[in-house]
């Protein structure tokens, strides 16, 4: 079973990478970019067969390791 975790910075937390991307796009001539934010995606290949159990386990992983909840939020997709 596959799971995907999206980790993004909380709104309000300044995103230096996103800002740099927006600047770089502008200097390449892409003017229409109002904002850019960068996040992480972690794709997991799991032994689980039960989607709900998998989601709970991945949620655990996120809280313990994959996201820093001081500055980040996360979202889990489980692909049965």
């Amino acid at each position: 079973m596959k799971a995907r975790v999206h980790v993004t910075l909380k709104p309000g937390v300044l995103d230096p990478q996103g800002k740099a991307i927006a600047n770089a796009l502008h200097s390449l001539g892409f003017d229409g970019v109002k904002e850019a934010r960068q996040g992480k995606v972690i794709d997991l290949d799991l032994d689980d067969t039960d989607a709900e159990a998998a989601r709970a386990r991945v949620d655990d992983m996120c809280r313990q390791l994959l996201a820093n909840t001081v500055i980040e939020t996360y979202r889990i997709e489980v692909d049965p």
């Binding site: 937390v13 300044l14 230096p16 990478q17 740099a20 313990q64 390791l65 820093n68």
Partner: protein, 230 residues
Amino acid sequence: MKSAVIVFPGSNCDRDVAVSLEQTTGRPPVMHWHADPALPEDLDLVVVPGGFSYGDYLRCGAMAAHAAAMTGVRKAAERGVAVLGICNGFQVLCETGLLPGALMRNRDLRFLCKDVHLRVETTDTLFTGHYAPGQVIRIPIAHHDGNYVADLATQCALEDEDRVVFRYCDPAGKVTEDANPNGSLDNIAGILSEERTVLGLMPHPERLADPRLGGTDGRPLFASLLEALS
């Protein structure tokens, strides 16, 4: 003073800080392997050194925060043992929750290794007794992720409780935007825990604690610890 340095597989300033500790205290620290949860007895100080603990691929310090040795560090901190986190060590301490806030990628996204000036914001700590209040010191930084962030409540608590220990400043001691190498909130370079026994800082005091290396402004930090803890 009995000290220990935690050694993660990717630590690379463990020896450097051990050298400084031995030079100032006359006693080599115990080098403590990350996989061992039981820290030595009767410690006065634990140092979490700089480096790339486990490669730091996910987030700096994220994996190290779960190392067996960190259970020991947490317990020691609860007992009031002094804990010093330098650079990667600061990141690890934030990730474990021993210090508030987080360290993000530098404002300019580049790794930065250079001497910076710091203003000593408080001398009411185990770590800074040998500095003068407001003293400007020169210490190197070497990091990619030293951009300190915290929410407003944390920011206020740090200020109100006199827990900001070092701020980036210019050579004259002015805390300016230009003197901020990484975009840190309020130019913060180092902070204390609520109990004032845990210090995390991005600059490397152990790198300028030997005249041969071009300066000794880092030395009083170790001397302060020696006096406070012996």
